[in-house]
């Protein structure tokens, strides 16, 4: 069993790592793509995952750690099965993002940055996702959801299993 504490890519994934490394003039260019792959595979980027990925790039784990900690899309602890990220930047703020954030917090019973106890949803507030024409908006896993109202938010959250 491979997981974030015992990370190991499959032979097919290792071939993909080598393909990605070959796309760049220096293989280190593939670090972000491989970290995305690692997170999709192992759930989050644990210290063990950092060490494993460092080995694939002939880097020190510290080099991978400083990259992982720099970017908001890499999770350093387990996240929920779904990630709900509400934009609270200026255009969404103008269109009541604050109300949406408050509503989701009450609905899920958690604060931004937390995960529901059943592991279903991680709730975040984030900076501009560049879909300001649909403000207030949020990202739910891979997709953007805009023109949010409390009712629409409820329907979306209810659909997440």
């Amino acid at each position: 069993m491979t997981d974030a504490r015992h990370p190991q890519f499959t032979p097919e994934q290792l071939a993909e790592v080598r393909r990605l490394q070959g796309l760049y003039p220096d293989k280190r260019g593939a670090l972000l793509p491989v970290l995305h792959m690692a997170q999709d595979t192992f759930g989050y980027i644990s210290l063990e995952v950092e060490e494993y990925v460092a080995g694939l790039f002939d880097l020190y784990p510290a080099h991978v750690h400083e990259v992982v900690t720099f970017y908001t899309l890499f999770f350093q602890k387990p996240k929920g099965r779904h990630v709900v990220s509400v934009c609270h930047n200026i255009s969404c703020y103008l269109m009541n993002a604050k109300g949406i954030v408050q509503h989701i917090g009450e609905r899920l019973g958690i604060e931004p940055g937390e995960t529901t106890p059943d592991g279903r949803i991680t709730f975040l507030t984030v900076e501009c996702l560049c879909a300001c024409e649909q403000a207030p908006m949020m990202q739910v896993d891979d997709r953007y959801e805009g023109n949010l109202t409390n009712d629409k938010v409820d329907r979306i959250l209810d659909g997440l299993r």
Partner: protein, 418 residues
């Protein structure tokens, strides 16, 4: 009907497909470009008055000319698709609805600068644009438009799509290159400029998505035509992103001669609910805010500058009379505090402290000296950092306070009596 360039096919459901792109004249500029000398291509772009549409408005043809003559090192073309400036969303539409326009522009630009390898750096949150562009790149390879010996021309060019991982600073071109190299997105000291020593130590040209998408049209219809659409300082049309309190928020393509007033009132239906305009940010959140009497300006590279602001990414954020400017500044300050990469002390420290001060003003704990402290810190730090991030943060700090000072003072005074 005004000329549509970037958005001309947006009404078609299959505008992202190779078949539709070709049917509407796509890839004809490429055939023409392969018959032109690289230097002639660059010259044509220079004459077109195309300016960078990502934020800095630098003349594109001139930028291409910065690669050292006679350099034999590999050269890279890097597309900045790390759209992140608050209030901006045009590149998302462009990549989702016209990905082949970007690919064709890249192949032509690569010929002009002598590059055989291009990267598109897409922000990590843009999963859907990435999927559409990935599909288009695959189509282009299958059709012989990318790879070796493109269309029998002898030209080789490959495109690698690269996903970011969430960091506004990677939209800054040298921060982007650090990130592309697999590092944290720390901007680099210039010089050397990327055209001399860029990605992986080699000459690199970084251009915005929309900028490169103008290139096929310039090649097809000529520099004079493109220049003639705009003003003396800038050619063409561009895609404005309009958000906030307008009746119809969204993207608007218009010649750069269009005024800010026209964009708000003619193209976007005016202020929501018939309310009054209080302020408008013309070029993404880093641009200084404009008051209602400052909106009769052309939205080219020079118009907003004449009012002490900037065109930036052409992200227009409209605020009606119900908005609390101090609270809006707190929201914007939180963003800069969160996104400062931490490399330069003035930026790292000032963005954090200014956010704390704006927050305490909004929370009713403001002190009367706070406003002058913020202005002092903002003005001293400007121009002292490696990249333009902090100068961008200073735009709102100074303009919100100087133009709406009494609103801040009223808030501080009323709290003092409470």
């Amino acid at each position: 009907m005004a000329e549509m360039i970037f958005t001309r096919n947006f009404h078609l459901a299959d505008s992202h497909t190779l078949a539709r792109y070709k049917e509407t004249g796509g890839y004809t500029a490429l055939t023409k470009a392969f018959r032109m000398e690289p230097a002639a291509l660059a010259e044509e772009v220079k004459k077109s008055n195309l300016r960078g549409l990502g934020g800095a408005a630098f003349p594109t043809g001139m930028k291409w000319g910065f690669i050292p003559k006679g350099s034999t090192a590999p050269r890279y073309l890097v597309i900045n698709a790390d759209e992140g400036e608050p209030g901006t969303f045009k590149d998302r539409y462009l990549m989702e609805r016209d990905p082949h326009g970007l690919i064709e522009g890249m192949i032509i630009a690569a010929r002009a600068i002598g590059s055989h390898l291009g990267f598109v750096y897409i922000r990590g949150e843009y999963v859907q644009p990435w999927r559409v562009l990935d599909g288009a790149v695959r189509e282009a390879y299958a059709a012989g438009l990318l790879g070796k010996n493109i269309l029998g021309s002898g030209a080789d060019f490959d495109i690698v799509l690269h996903r970011g991982a969430g960091a506004y600073i990677c939209g800054e071109e040298t921060g982007l290159l650090s990130s592309l190299e697999g590092k944290k997105g720390w901007p680099k000291i210039k010089p050397p400029f990327p055209a001399v020593k860029g990605a992986f130590g080699n000459p690199t040209i970084v251009n915005n998505v929309e900028t490169i998408m103008a290139v096929p049209h310039i090649v097809n219809r000529g520099a004079e035509w493109f220049a003639g659409l705009g003003t003396k300082g800038q050619g063409g049309t561009r895609v404005y992103s309009v958000s906030g309190h307008v009746e119809k928020p969204g993207i608007v393509e218009a010649p750069v001669t269009v005024t800010l007033r026209q964009l708000i009132y003619d193209h976007c239906g005016g202020i929501r609910g018939g309310r009054k305009l209080k302020g408008v940010v013309p070029g993404g959140s880093s641009a200084a805010i404009l008051t209602p009497d400052e909106i009769d300006i052309p939205m080219d590279a020079d118009g907003p500058k004449s009012k002490g602001s900037m065109i930036g990414s052409a992200g227009i954020i409209v605020m009606d009379e119900t908005v609390s400017i101090p609270e809006a500044l707190m929201v914007v300050s939180r963003f800069y505090a969160h996104e400062s990469c931490g490399q330069c002390t003035p930026c790292r420290e000032s963005t954090g402290w200014i956010y704390k001060m704006t927050r305490r003003i909004v929370e009713g704990k403001g002190r009367k000296e706070d406003l002058d402290t913020i202005l002092d810190v903002a003005k001293r730090g400007a121009g002292t950092t490696i990249c333009a991030f902090y100068d961008g943060a200073v735009g709102p700090y100074i303009s919100y306070i100087e133009k709406y000072r009494s609103e801040f003072e009223d808030l501080i005074r009323s709290n003092a009596h409470a």
